[in-house]
């Protein structure tokens, strides 16, 4: 770890954080266009090509809005809440591997040689990253609670209380639905989980290897029930439709961010989309092979690239970038599903939400765990 290595890693961390923040305007644009098309409207299409720069115009508007604080609000907490909103999403996204590690070959910089560096395409590779992500994203509820509390507004408080109860309830279902995945791959490290999903569907039974050649070796085929549970729970965790009761317009004006305006409200939006991004990335990593192309292993890709005439120095970098784009495509498919569901399904009632979480998802998750354990025991 010399200075250069630290600098490169710092640049990488900043890049990943900016990546997360910069996807948000794109997502807002996709959301508005998609909702428009689903409802047979046009959506924002005036500013720039296809209305893409609409968000830039919006941002300028947000920046010049008046700073407004309600009279009875607790000032420090009122400012603290939107700042806190960003942190959990950013921390969690940093722990997700976006692509294979690549090496930077020896290069000279100001007539000094710098040795080959192995750069991992994630902010930090923890061997307990899955629990870490769960733990950090559990902190997301605090910004909502603080916002609701500090606004000194009934609607905000109700929104915040709803959000807190919902997130606690679904945290359980989320955790239990992941136990099956952990049992199968027997690790908390996301990179190891992704690496186990290469190639075609294969499993060991009493020492013999069985392969099903027409299916990719993805987690969803091992854990279909686990995937469905995780999928539902992540919708509730991110407070998205059809579980967005914390900000149900008909009942609560705008929920916990009723009193927020301008850039402060923007922070909440960024946080919400950030949570969506983390959720989609987790789904991709755990159930859809992460950055792996189906049926193709990483070694085959670099082999293909070298046969196509890519020089050795760039080889690992280009391989990494290819896999990164594959990862982003998968993530965007899930983000699209998030948006699609929002404009298709009606909102739940609050008691229905709680009943679904506690009496359906949680027992099914436990059942999934037990079945997985029994099958693993038999196959062993």
């Amino acid at each position: 770890m010399d200075l250069m290595n630290i600098i490169i890693n710092g640049i990488k961390i900043i890049f990943i954080f900016l990546l997360m923040v910069q996807i948000v305007p794109l997502l807002v644009w996709i959301e508005r266009r998609a909702s428009a098309f689903i409802q047979n409207r046009f959506g924002p299409n005036r500013v720039g090509p296809l209305g893409l720069t609409q968000l830039l115009a919006d941002l300028i508007k947000f920046l010049f809005k008046e700073e407004f604080i309600p009279k009875n609000a607790k000032k420090s907490l009122f400012y603290l809440a939107p700042i806190l909103a960003l942190i959990p999403g950013a921390l969690a996204f940093g722990a997700i591997p976006l692509s294979v590690p690549f090496t930077i070959p020896i290069f000279s910089f100001f007539s000094k040689e710098f040795g080959p560096y192995l750069i991992e395409f994630q902010s930090y590779n923890l061997h307990f990253s899955l629990v870490f992500i769960l733990g950090v994203s559990a902190l997301g509820v605090y910004s909502i609670l603080l916002a609701g509390w500090a606004s000194a507004n009934k609607y905000s408080l109700f929104g915040a209380l709803r959000a807190a109860a919902q997130v606690i309830s679904y945290e359980l279902a989320l955790g239990v639905s992941l136990v099956g995945v952990l049992l199968i791959y027997s690790t908390f490290n996301l990179q190891t989980i992704i690496n186990a999903q290469q190639g075609a569907f294969a499993f060991y039974s009493s020492g013999l290897l069985y392969t099903v050649s027409f299916l990719p070796n993805w987690g969803i085929f091992f854990q279909p029930l686990g995937f469905v549970l995780f999928f539902i729970a992540i919708f509730a965790e991110t407070n998205r439709h059809p579980f967005d009761l914390p900000e149900a317009e008909a009942e609560l004006v705008a929920g916990y961010h009723t009193e927020y305006g301008g850039l402060k409200m923007n922070m909440f939006y960024i946080a919400e989309y950030g949570h969506m991004l983390v959720g989609s990335a987790l789904m991709t990593v755990l159930f859809f092979g992460g950055y792996q192309i189906p049926f193709v292993s990483t070694a085959e890709i670099s082999q293909f690239l070298s046969s196509a005439g890519v020089s050795l120095g760039w080889l690992s970098f280009i391989t990494s970038m290819t896999l990164f784009s594959v990862f982003m495509i998968k993530v965007f498919i899930f983000l699209w599903i998030f948006i699609w569901v929002r404009w298709t399904l009606p909102r739940f009632k609050y008691d229905q939400l709680m009943k679904l979480g506690w009496t359906k998802l949680l027992p099914l998750g436990v059942l999934n765990t037990v079945i997985t354990a029994i099958i693993l025991f038999i196959l062993k």
């Binding site: 907490l77 733990g135 559990a138 902190l139 408080l157 209380l161 807190a164 997130v167 606690i168």
Partner: protein, 172 residues
């Protein structure tokens, strides 16, 4: 690194006990929990640190915050008249802390030379990932305790639900 976290921890703990506002106290306690999770990471107890984040900050403290939020509508509730502290309590507190501080200085002069008994059966488990080692010990040596824990938690769940279902005296 240790000193940074230690000072942060003590600072937020002092805020917890000294503040008059319950909400501030609880937020400071949340800060304490988070800092402690990082101290666990520092001590290579990664899984425990993550569990600390999930269980304490994610669930327990949220419960506290919710209770405070629900009952803060009438402001008078939390202004319980603090009784004048008895002189003896004050004196004993001051004596206790001065004793502690002097003890710290004594230790710093000549360290304790603690000898620790290492468990040879499980000492190698710490070296690889702490999660594997933890689970191996948890499901072999402490299996009975684990099972008892499960039964205990079930009993707690039933108890809390029965408390919640009871009308609580408002509908007598």
């Amino acid at each position: 690194m240790f000193y940074f976290f230690a000072i942060l921890l003590l600072f937020s703990a002092i805020i917890v006990v000294s503040t008059k506002n319950s909400m501030t106290a609880i937020l400071a306690l949340t800060g304490t929990m988070i800092v402690q999770a990082f101290l666990f990471f520092l001590l290579k107890a990664y899984f425990l640190g993550a569990v600390q984040l999930i269980v304490y900050t994610g669930a327990v403290m949220v419960l506290f915050v919710m209770v405070i939020m629900i009952f803060n509508n009438d402001k008078e509730v939390f202004k319980i008249p603090e009784p004048p502290m008895s002189v003896w309590l004050k004196i004993s507190a001051v004596a206790w802390f001065s004793g502690l501080v002097s003890g710290i200085f004594l230790i710093s002069k000549n360290s304790l030379h603690l000898t620790l008994v290492t468990d040879s059966n499980f000492s190698n488990l710490l070296k690889d990932m702490s999660i594997n080692g933890l689970s191996q010990v948890l499901f072999t040596k402490y299996l009975l305790a684990f099972e008892v824990m499960g039964v205990f938690l079930l009993a707690i769940t039933v108890g809390v639900i029965s408390i919640a279902k009871s009308r609580g005296g408002t509908h007598e």
